[in-house]
């Protein structure tokens, strides 16, 4: 409903395209600018709770909370969309309770957009005794030992209860380092499960269901999956099965292959990617949305993200360093506190973690805003060069995969 209103407010020249998307789903994608050199684009993604400026990094709030940060703080940092995990929330507090609390939005009192995953990934990565059949993923609950089946229908039913703005299909997740027939089986099964998920969605007018492209590191399988899935009428696509320990050379090739075949008018979400260099390169390869636990997890260990890499606040060398984490950063932490104070506070109180978490989210969101701004202003290639120079001490330090990936979209790094 909200999307329809947003659509009505859109500029007229894009009207026909938008209308078509709107009628099918509560989502509208307006391309604001496309980089003339790379595949990067800047879009306004209209979702039921607010417009999201892409490229966007989505912080992960696994259990209905972003580690120690209030929703007001998150909003204050400019976050327009964050994640919740279906597996965790489906276990505790459970879909019924969340539905009673007016969805995950109501439960955690988050006024902006939410994306929920399918729960499948956690099941395979967290639960030891899980078994995948055509029916779904079978596993033993770590809380009461009961056997539970997570089917595509069940996953969507939980996500319908959570009421997220974007839901993810249940996919058959195989580690990206696995090869052979299992990868092909998983890809085909993911297509069949996508159809079951589409059929199971009770709220297609309020909740967007994204497909997840699978196919491991095999270009042919990826291509088959892309051909099949893009025939389905889904509001957006995710690139899945990557960021799981594969070679970066394989990783970026799968990403760029995917964006080559994904429709221009729908958002592309690269799952599980969050390192600064990966974000910038994959924006150049044509991705719009990203998520990763890394920035918030690493913060709790005292690792602060900075334009020149990271800074380990707990290391002794910062005990008497009275500068902020990043003198150029405008986040509440950097405006008030020094490295030395945070270093000492880590020994006294958990608030130290919150300070670094705030900083790291601010870093990620600011990075993406700068990326977007440079795309809009037509200077993304220059942005990438400056970014790389700042992040790495010398040309020799540039990861070769990033150099290759950028070269594939016409960016040469001197």
């Amino acid at each position: 409903m909200a999307a329809a209103i947003e659509c009505g407010a859109d500029s007229e020249n894009n009207m026909s395209l938008k209308k078509a998307v709107c009628e099918a789903s509560p989502l509208a994608l307006r391309i604001i600018a496309e980089c003339p050199v790379t595949k990067a684009r800047a879009c306004d993604l209209t979702l039921p709770h607010c417009v999201v400026s892409t490229p966007v990094f989505m912080p992960v709030g696994t259990q209905g909370t972003l580690k120690g940060i209030t929703v007001d703080q998150l909003e204050g940092l400019g976050c327009q969309i964050c994640l919740g995990n279906t597996y965790h929330l489906g276990m505790r507090p459970g879909p019924d309770l969340i539905e009673e609390a007016k969805g995950l939005h109501g439960f955690m009192n988050w006024k902006r957009n939410l994306l929920t995953d399918s729960g499948g990934f956690q099941m395979v990565s967290l639960v030891e005794l899980s078994e995948v059949t055509e029916e779904g993923v079978k596993f033993k609950s770590p809380y009461d030992g009961k056997e539970i089946l997570l089917s595509p229908e069940k996953s969507i039913s939980i996500q319908n209860s959570l009421g997220s703005d974007i839901m993810m299909q249940l996919d058959d997740v195989v580690s990206s380092t696995v090869t052979g027939p299992r990868v092909e089986e998983a890809m085909h099964r993911s297509i069949r499960w996508l159809d079951r998920c589409i059929a199971a969605n009770k709220n297609p007018d309020k909740q967007n269901l994204f497909a997840i492209i699978q196919g491991g590191l095999n270009a042919e399988l990826r291509k088959t999956c892309l051909d099949e899935m893009t025939q389905r009428d889904v509001p957006g696509f995710a690139i899945g099965g990557l960021s799981g320990g594969e070679e970066k050379d394989d990783f970026w090739r799968m990403v760029t292959l995917s964006t080559d075949h994904l429709p221009r008018d729908k958002p592309r979400y690269l799952m599980g990617v969050g390192y600064a260099v990966d974000l910038v390169v994959c924006v150049a390869l044509g991705c719009d949305m990203f998520d990763c636990v890394f920035p918030t997890r690493t913060a709790r260990f005292g690792s602060a993200l900075v334009p020149w890499g990271s800074l380990q606040v707990k290391h002794k060398q910062y005990a008497k360093d009275f500068q902020p984490i990043d003198p150029d950063c405008q986040c509440p932490t950097c405006k008030r506190h020094s490295r030395a104070y945070l270093h000492a506070l880590f020994k006294s109180d958990t608030a130290a973690m919150h300070h670094v978490t705030i900083h790291n989210i601010a870093y990620q969101l600011t990075l993406m805003r700068s990326v977007r701004q440079s795309i809009v202003e037509g200077r993304f290639p220059e942005f990438i060069r400056t970014f790389m120079k700042r992040l790495f001490s010398s040309r020799e330090q540039y990861p070769s995969w990033a150099v290759d990936a950028l070269a594939s979209v016409n960016i040469t790094l001197e």
């Binding site: 972003l66 209030t70 507090p93 109180d349 958990t350």
Partner: protein
């Protein structure tokens, strides 16, 4: 000495019923004040536990005085010496008065390490032994607005001998004299106030001696040590405080260390205490609980009648809260134990309770979140639980002190006492 001096303006002194007033001229420029009875803002190294400045600033009417402890600070002496501008600036505390105490009231120190010349504090890296010289060197780097002098407070254990108690009084007086000597000679501490520490365990005679002797010294106020929750029962505490405060000048504030429970606070205010440390809401937060006791004595019938107890829920509450600890019970050794002023949000019954922690509470937590969410955050060990509970508990506790001052001003302390002590049954309302 700098011009600004702490001064206590008493508006009312009720015989055997508390003192109401304002502590003025606080801070280097003297622009801050603190109403009494009141409490200080409890912190870990200058940070209210779990809270960043953003979340702290959601709270209105915070006390103007922030408490830091040498147990947190001592291990960072070298850093502060290099920083030079004092702790408040180091910690990013912009506009607050800084009070520096010796120990953390929420983290009792092990005994057996005190000598004639030293006391010990426990930081994250273990024990640090302080002589008066080191203690004063620390104060010079911390640059607080006021601090307590060094003290031997090791009298709180059961069966502490009279001899040991006497020794603690003697040592503490000797430490005070030495501290004052260094203080008066040091330029860095110009305009900084010193509180003398009163010891004497549970022996009246020693308590009186400690009070009399300390009062003779040029101190700005008094810290009452060795009377903390767990060390002594409330009746004896009341007796001792009532007696010893008679030995103290009217115009200087009395800060009671280690007491925070609302019932004990009320009794101690009546006995003549002005200031408390606000570690209690932190302890409540750490056990996953929320303060819900009623302190509303407003005559507005709508507000007063907003919490009719429901018998059924009341019974359930008693079951989990354990035995009710009546005023004066000595079952207090374990400060981690839940009191009857709070509810445990970990309790299963709150899993689908969509009410705020306290109906009508204006804190960020109550305005934005429900008990069911807090329950979820606790059972999933999420860090936000501590943040939200700390916000509410701090707001509730400081609200209680506001009500306490109102009650003193309007002669309704008895009503407030009844409300706080019996009104605990209204939690579920």
């Amino acid at each position: 000495m700098a011009g600004s001096r702490m001064r206590l303006e008493l508006n009312r002194v009720i015989q055997g019923g508390g003192r109401l007033g304002v502590l003025k001229g606080l801070g280097r420029t003297g622009q801050h004040s603190l109403e009494i009875p009141g409490c200080l803002l409890y912190t870990h190294f200058g940070t209210v536990p779990h809270l960043t400045q953003d979340t702290l600033q959601t709270l209105s009417d915070l006390p103007s005085v922030t408490q830091v402890t040498l147990s947190n600070i001592a291990e960072h002496q070298e850093v502060l010496e290099e920083f030079k501008d004092g702790f408040w600036k180091f910690a990013g505390l912009h506009d607050t008065v800084l009070y520096c105490s010796l120990h953390d009231p929420a983290a009792p120190s092990p005994t057996g390490y005190t000598t004639n010349k030293t006391v010990s504090v426990w930081g994250s890296g273990g024990r640090i032994e302080l002589t008066v010289d080191k203690f004063m060197a620390l104060q010079k780097t911390v640059k607080p607005d006021w601090y307590q002098s060094m003290a031997d407070g090791e009298t709180w254990q059961n069966n502490t001998s009279r001899k040991r108690v006497r020794k603690s009084v003697d040592r503490t007086l000797a430490h005070l004299d030495e501290c004052l000597l260094v203080h008066q000679k040091s330029k860095e501490l110009e305009g900084v106030e010193v509180f003398g520490v009163l010891e004497g365990g549970d022996i009246l005679e020693e308590r009186l001696r400690s009070a009399r002797e300390t009062a003779k010294r040029p101190v700005a106020g008094f810290c009452l040590d060795g009377l903390q929750t767990g060390a002594i029962d409330q009746d004896l505490r009341t007796q001792l405080i009532t007696a010893l405060t008679k030995e103290l000048p009217e115009d200087k504030p009395r800060l009671l260390q280690g007491v925070g429970r609302p019932d004990e606070v009320l009794a101690c205010v009546e006995a003549g205490v002005d200031l408390f440390e606000s570690f209690f809401p932190f302890q409540v937060t750490e056990r996953g609980c929320a303060l819900v006791f009623s302190f509303d004595i407003s005559p507005d019938p709508e507000r007063a009648g907003r919490a009719p107890p429901k018998v059924l829920e009341l019974d359930k509450e008693r079951d989990t809260a354990g035995e009710r600890q009546q005023n004066g019970d000595l079952n207090l050794d374990d400060q981690t134990q839940m009191t009857s002023f709070e509810i445990s949000l970990k309790d299963k019954r709150y899993h689908d309770d969509f009410r705020p922690l306290v109906e009508g509470c204006g804190c960020y937590c109550c305005k934005n979140h429900q008990r069911a969410y807090l329950h979820h955050l606790l059972v999933t060990n999420e860090l936000l639980a501590g943040v939200l509970l700390m916000i509410h508990n701090t707001a509730h506790y400081h609200g209680f002190f506001g009500a306490l001052r109102d009650a003193l001003a309007t002669d309704k302390l008895d009503l407030l006492k009844r409300r706080v002590l019996r009104g605990r049954e209204d939690f579920e309302g």
